[in-house]
Structure formats: structure tokens, C-alpha cells
């Protein structure tokens, strides 16, 4: 069936192969997180910036942020009604950068007309917990403070570890009795750092992106002295009641896909509003491939429909 005319997309098999190559190159065994970051940077510098957007880098609440807006919109004129998506990138709290999720941010901005703010939060092991959540909170406070965007017009989102930051931020705001974001969007979120992910050998073998060893190393580097099952690190293990409506997307060929499923089941059980879509043939963090992969474009369409 012919879809709307758009640039050609990667066949899923090729996308899997690409994801595997990415892991071999970036998340290589023995490479320090600093080296992994450098390799990722090198890869990112090869990528053309997605068309149809303007990007400004500026400091929000003391944290450098990429602000992505679909062209044709005045980047300064963030209309209070237009809303903002505050998105935290993934990378196990140790690697990654706003540049890595720019493709997704561009697609979401084009599809929703919203500005997407991508904080360059501090990473472990140099800056372990609670540096990341502190940065997230600082950006939130600045964004929604005096003369800023109403909290309800902000969708807080994140992919992978960024999903953990996003959910943790919403829970912290709830606990502090502060105004909550209007919505949460979590892409392949990493929500339980205490799970060693070795339980399903078939899934471990099939996952092209993540390995239990890499996750364990990232979790240790991020946690520092804090227990891995502390809900501030593993929000899935905390109180999930009273949170904004959330959309959770995950690929099933992902050793942490169960976090998405457990989150959806638990939020439903405590009476929350959650929508889960589980792409049976997709890998970890696939929505970040928006523009290159039909499934990722479909995921962005779902985000746009959810935020409408």
C-alpha cells in the first residue's frame, strides 16, 4: 500500500544491521564512556541535520539546551498555547547528546508545531546521580517559571535513560506538590536499573543495541553510592499514581522493553492514564530514527496524535 509521498525509508532488516554496527563501534567492549561519547560525536558529525527546522543552542536554567523548532515558526515566539516538548536524550546516563535525538525532535516539531527543548544534561561517570535529575529539574523550573510556559503546556519526554529522567522528574514534581507537565512521552524507557536483563537469553541474543554488560556498567557508573533499586534511579519501583497521561513506545526486540510493559501495567493498576504501543519487530529506541525508518515515523505520528 502506498503511503503519502516521502523520502525512501530503511528496510527494517537494514536498520537492525545498522543498529548492530552502531553498538559495535560506539558501545564497544572495553571503551571508556568518554571514548564512547567521542565516537558518537564523530558519527553525529557525519549526519546531515534534518531539514525543515532551526536549532538554537542556549542556556536554560544553567543547562545548555538545543531548542528545535520547525521552520516557519518564530523560535522566540513560543506561544504559551503552542506548547513545548522537553526531551531528555538517551545513552545510559553516560553517553549521548542532544544531537543524537535531533532527528526525532525535528519530526515531532514538524508534526506538532511545538518547540522541542533538548537539554545537554551532565553525564556519569564524571557526574553521577543526582547530577542528571538536578539538571532536568533546573531546566524544568526555568522553562515553566515566571513568564515561562504553563506546566500543562509542556510535554516531558525522554528516550531510554532519558525516559527514566522524564518519569523521575514528573514523580519529583508530584512529590513536591508542584504543577505537573501536561503529558509524558517515554520511548523505550530505562526504568529499572536493578534488573540485570540476563533473564531471556533469546532476547539478549536478538537485541541489536543493548547488552546486559553495557547496561550494568552504565547503571553502576550513574548510581555511585546509591542503591540501584532506589526509586530515584529506578522510577518503575516508586509510586506511579497521580502522574500525567503518558504515552509509552517501545520496540519488543529490546532487553529493557519489559520496563515499558511493566510501567503500563502498573500505571493502569493504580488508576493512571497510559497508552502503550509495542512494536513487535523493532529494536531499542527505534523512534529516534524518525525520518529514516517507517516505524519511527509511525511512532512520531502517534506522539502527534497523543499531543493533539
Amino acid at each position: 500500500m502506498a503511503r503519502r509521498s516521502s523520502p525512501p525509508k530503511l528496510p527494517p532488516a537494514l536498520a537492525f544491521a545498522g543498529a548492530k554496527l552502531l553498538r559495535r563501534y560506539v558501545m564497544a567492549d572495553g571503551a571508556s564512556f568518554a571514548e564512547q561519547r567521542a565516537r558518537m560525536q564523530r558519527l553525529n558529525s557525519l549526519l546531515p541535520s534534518p531539514p525543515g527546522i532551526t536549532v538554537r543552542t542556549e542556556t536554560v536554567g544553567g543547562v545548555s539546551c538545543d531548542r528545535v523548532v520547525a521552520s516557519g515558526r518564530d523560535p522566540r515566539g513560543v506561544a504559551p498555547s503552542g506548547g513545548v516538548v522537553l526531551h531528555f536524550h538517551g545513552g545510559g546516563y553516560c553517553i549521548g547528546s542532544p544531537r543524537f535525538t535531533r532527528g526525532w525532535a525535528a519530526a515531532v516539531s514538524v508534526a506538532t508545531g511545538r518547540e522541542v527543548v533538548l537539554p545537554d544534561y551532565r553525564l556519569a561517570p564524571e557526574h553521577p546521580f543526582p547530577a542528571g535529575p538536578a539538571d532536568a529539574r533546573a531546566v524544568w523550573d526555568a522553562l515553566t517559571g515566571e513568564g515561562g510556559v504553563p506546566a500543562a503546556d509542556v510535554c516531558v519526554s525522554g528516550d531510554s535513560a532519558g525516559g527514566g529522567l522524564a518519569l523521575g522528574l514528573a514523580m519529583a514534581l508530584r512529590d513536591a506538590g508542584r504543577a505537573l507537565p501536561g503529558a509524558l512521552v517515554l520511548l523505550s524507557p530505562w526504568l529499572d536499573l536493578s534488573d540485570d536483563r540476563g533473564g531471556d537469553p533469546d532476547l539478549v541474543a536478538a537485541d541489536p543495541v543493548l547488552t546486559p554488560a553495557w547496561l550494568t556498567a552504565a547503571a553502576r557508573a550513574y548510581a555511585g553510592d546509591v542503591a540501584l533499586d532506589d526509586p530515584r534511579l529506578s522510577p518503575l519501583l516508586g509510586d506511579l499514581a497521580g502522574l500525567p497521561p503518558m504515552l509509552v513506545q517501545a520496540g519488543a526486540v529490546d532487553i529493557i522493553a519489559s520496563d515499558s510493559v511493566r510501567l503500563a501495567a502498573t500505571v493502569r493498576a493504580v488508576g493512571g492514564d497510559v497508552t502503550l504501543s509495542l512494536a513487535n519487530g523493532m529494536f531499542h529506541d527505534f523512534p529516534t530514527q524518525a525520518g529514516n525508518l517507517e516505524a519511527a515515523d509511525s511512532a512520531v505520528r502517534q506522539v502527534a496524535a497523543f499531543l493533539r
Binding site: V261, R268, A295, S298, A305
Partner: protein, 505 residues
């Protein structure tokens, strides 16, 4: 799986039969779904049927001359070959095939015959459907597969005085075999796919047949013939030969489909075939004019038969093209004032095809009513899934009818898809799947835009369309494109509800 006693809802609860999957309908679709479930080793299912036997449209339509218009090698399950007596077998043989398949795959214990589904309601907490059957019985199922067909509710014409007729009057799908037509004056209303099959048979013995035609059909020859014993042996010994025949029938079907879809060359070919056949069969220019349709070819179903034009030229047959003004006790009065006296009236007026899943009532999530949802015409993602109605799958649903190929091919694509949905739900431990609203909307927008280019939308009145002009019945492109779109289920098209056991304690 999660289908178990959940929140109690009343006394009937204790009597409810609890299964994993409830299939509705025992035609080619419902039984094919049963075979698939059996083969997947999923025995917890029932197939519910309002009638007392299997066969669907092939059990109901027993009128003389009833036969399929796609050769049986394609109009049969790909997974179950059969020793067909001829190329286009009659109804009785197709029904025997269906009975045989039912036995062969051990489906009998799963049948719940003689109980129509009055209503079905989704319970979000337990993620199950509760089906209320006529007579008060209940079935609770995790998943419902509705396979009730498009052509199962006879449509009577809206003509004044219809019930004043003094003699026997019946619809072709409810044939009165107790009424001997020999020597009688028979009035037939309608010239669709049923009428062109039964009129030639009725005319053989009736005293006089008056055929009332609103618009002429395009009729092309049906290359029907019995298979010789040698051929039957060949097909039996060399399955590949039958497979090749199947493929060639399919490809010819695709050619016809492309004509309807708007391929100019193919249209010319089919038009030429019809015109030459008409010219050869009907020498009388006046009758030829009456037999010439006043709409674009393909707009209504193209009909295949070898004896329609010959029958119209029998001395005891009259083709009346005057509009009917009323039915009276002794016959049919046309607009020119003439009373055409009849002893028996037969309605070959087809079916209420746009009334998908009628008269069953479906209540989905948040109390949504399916028929209210479909007030502007039925729609479903790929014909199988409807937003707001989790774990409900449709076979031969909206926009999956064909004008030029085998519906069984479509049904098998749908059955494979639904089976994959069930398998994935099991594998990923999901309690429910509900198609995304935006995905369904995008799909329907594509169907609506694409089908506008087809002959079906070229301005005639047909059973494919609802009052607002939307075509709710037909698949708009090649049959093969449907199979391709259905090959692998993408759960990203759906919202998933995890089983409760996933919840963090």
C-alpha cells in the same frame, strides 16, 4: 489466559462458557479461523452460528443454479485441496467441501450452532468480551473474531404494496423449495448475481417468467465445464498443476481488478469481451438495447454466465425494463400502467451489504456503540480492526470485498493476520490490542481517496455504497497488495494492554 471470572456481573455469570477466542459465523471465514486456531494448538475457542449448520452463504443460498463465479481451484482454501467435479462447482458441492473441511480439521466440537449473537460487550477491567446469545446463553472470550460476511441479510425492494401479493413471494436467499414453479407465472425482481443464476433454471419449467430490471448488468461468458476423470486424476497426482491453475486464475482476477481500478487497457479488454458476447448472443436490436447497461463497466458487480442472454430470448421469458410502481395481489404494476400478472414473486434483490455486523450490538471501550461509530458507513483498519473495540477482529470486514478475485484469498490473509495478533499477544503477554485511532484514520483516508479513482465510484447505485456515497465494501487496489499489507502484523499500529501480572507489586 486472562479470560477468567473477573468482576461478577450477575447470575448468568456462572453459566457463561469461558474461552480464549469466540468466532462468530461458520462460513469460509469462521471455519478457516477455526482451522488456524487448531493448527496453532489453541483449542480454547468456539465458533458461534445462528443457523443450524455450517456453510454461511453456501448453506443459505440454495436457489436453483447457485454456483460460484470464481473457479473452485482458487475459490477454496489454499491449505485444503479437493477433487472438484467442474471448474465452477454448484452450491451443493461447495457446501459439501465446507462440511468436509469442518470434519477433517475436527471443528465440530467447537461449533455452537443455532444461537445467534445478540450482543457483545467489552469489559475493560477483565479485558474480556461477554457475548449474549439468543436464548440467554453467554460466552466470555478474550478475543472475538466476527466473520459474519457481507452478504447474509437479504434486502427486499422498497416497493409499495409488497406485502399485498396474494401468492407465494420469497427472496432468492430464502428459496421456497416447497413451491413448485412448473407451469406458473413467475415474476422476478432484480437482475443481479443471484437472478442471472436462478432465472435460467426457473425458466426451464415455469409457464412464464417476467424479469423486472432496473439496470442491465454487464454479463460475460463463464468458461465453465466439467473436469474429465483424467484431469481430476492429474490434479490429484500433481498438486503443482493445480497450483499453477490457481495462480493463473488469480492473475486473470488481478487483470479484471485492475480494469475496475481504472486501468484503461484492461477496461477496453473487458468491455470488448462483453460487447462481442452481447452482439453474438442477442440479434434483436431492441432487446440488445435493453441489455446494454447505462453505467460504466465495473461500477456494479460484473456477472459471469453463459445462459442469461439466451434465457431472455426464450418464448416464455419477458424482460421488463419499465419502472415498478406497485405490487398488487395478482401481480406487478409498472409505471406505464400495465399489470404483469404473476402467481409467484421472487426477489433477486441482493443483500444489505453495507450493514456490517448487523443486527448484532457491539459495545466497546467506554460504552462505545459500534453502529453509532459507523453511522456514516462502516470502516476498519485494513478491514480487520476498529479503534475503541479492543480484541475485536473482523473477517471480510469493511473495504475488503473484491470485484474480480476470490474472497477466500482475502479471508486467508485476514486469518493469518489475526492468528499473528493472537500469537504476539501470547508471546508478549498482552491482555488486549486496540488499533490506534490515528492509524485507522490514515488508512480510511487512503481508502477513500484511492477508491474514488475506481469504476465503483463512477456514479451508479450499487450495494457497495452508503447514502453519503462512501464505498464501504470494496478493496480499492490489487488483491495482491492486500495480501502484502497483511503479511506481518505491526503491533505499533495498536495500543497494547499488558496482562495484569506485569504490574510491579
Amino acid at each position: 489466559m486472562t479470560a477468567g471470572p473477573g468482576t461478577g456481573t450477575g447470575a448468568a455469570e456462572a453459566d457463561a462458557e469461558v474461552v480464549d477466542v469466540a468466532v462468530i459465523g461458520t462460513g469460509f471465514g469462521g471455519l478457516g479461523m477455526g482451522v488456524s486456531l487448531k493448527r496453532a494448538g489453541r483449542d480454547s475457542f468456539v465458533i458461534i452460528e445462528k443457523a443450524d449448520g455450517v456453510g454461511g452463504t453456501w448453506r443459505e443460498n440454495t436457489y436453483p443454479g447457485a454456483a460460484c463465479d470464481v473457479p473452485a481451484h482458487l475459490y477454496s482454501y489454499s491449505f485444503h485441496r479437493y477433487d472438484w467435479s467442474r471448474r465452477f462447482p454448484p452450491q451443493a458441492e461447495i457446501l459439501a467441501y465446507i462440511e468436509h473441511v469442518t470434519d477433517h480439521y475436527g471443528l465440530r466440537p467447537h461449533l455452537r450452532l443455532g444461537a445467534g449473537v445478540a450482543s457483545a460487550a467489552w469489559d475493560e477491567d477483565s479485558a474480556t468480551w461477554t457475548l449474549a446469545l439468543d436464548g440467554g446463553r453467554e460466552v466470555r472470550a478474550r478475543v472475538v473474531v466476527s466473520s459474519v460476511g457481507q452478504l447474509n441479510r437479504p434486502a427486499l425492494p422498497s416497493i409499495a404494496g409488497l406485502d399485498t401479493f396474494a401468492g407465494p413471494a420469497f427472496h432468492s436467499a430464502q428459496w421456497r423449495h416447497d413451491v413448485a414453479l412448473a407451469g406458473l407465472r413467475v415474476g422476478v425482481i432484480g437482475t443481479g448475481a443471484s437472478a442471472i443464476q436462478f432465472v435460467p433454471e426457473v425458466a426451464k419449467s415455469a409457464g412464464h417468467v417476467t424479469v423486472f430490471q432496473r439496470s442491465a448488468p454487464y454479463v460475460i461468458p463463464k468458461p465453465d465445464r466439467p473436469y474429465s476423470p483424467g484431469e481430476r486424476r492429474l490434479y490429484k497426482l500433481l498438486p503443482l498443476v493445480e497450483k499453477l491453475d490457481r495462480l493463473s486464475i488469480f492473475l486473470r482476477g488481478e487483470l479484471l481488478t485492475s480494469a475496475i481500478d481504472g486501468n484503461g487497457t484492461a477496461v477496453k479488454g473487458v468491455l470488448k469481451m462483453w460487447k462481442e458476447y452481447l452482439d453474438e448472443q442477442v440479434p434483436d436490436p431492441e432487446l440488445r438495447a435493453k441489455c446494454t447497461p447505462d453505467y460504466k463497466i465495473g461500477c456494479k458487480r460484473i456477472l459471469f454466465t453463459n445462459d442469461w442472454y439466451a434465457t431472455l430470448q426464450r418464448p416464455n421469458v419477458e424482460l421488463c425494463t419499465d419502472a415498478i410502481s406497485a405490487v398488487e395481489p395478482t401481480g406487478v404494476r409498472t409505471a406505464d400502467g400495465v399489470l404483469h400478472e404473476c402467481d409467484v414473486l421472487v426477489y433477486g434483490t441482493g443483500f444489505a451489504a453495507t450493514g456490517f455486523l448487523q443486527p448484532m450490538r457491539f459495545t466497546g471501550r467506554d460504552g462505545a456503540d459500534l453502529h453509532t461509530r459507523w453511522a456514516d458507513g462502516a470502516e476498519a483498519y485494513k478491514g480487520v480492526a476498529v479503534h475503541g473495540f479492543p480484541n475485536l477482529f473482523l473477517l471480510y470486514g469493511p473495504n475488503t470485498n473484491l470485484g474480480g478475485n476470490s474472497i477466500i484469498y482475502m479471508l486467508e490473509a485476514q486469518i493469518r493476520y489475526v492468528q499473528q495478533a493472537l500469537d504476539e499477544m501470547h508471546r508478549l503477554q498482552l491482555a488486549a490490542l486496540e488499533v490506534r485511532d490515528d492509524v485507522e484514520r490514515d488508512f480510511v483516508a487512503w481508502v477513500d481517496a484511492t477508491i474514488e479513482k475506481s469504476a465503483w465510484q463512477s456514479g451508479c447505485h450499487s450495494w457497495y455504497r452508503v447514502d453519503n456515497g462512501r464505498n464501504t465494501n470494496n478493496w480499492p487496489v490489487l488483491t495482491n497488495a492486500y495480501a502484502k499489507a497483511m503479511r506481518r502484523i505491526d503491533l505499533l499500529d495498536y495500543e497494547a494492554t499488558p496482562q495484569r501480572s506485569w504490574a510491579v507489586a
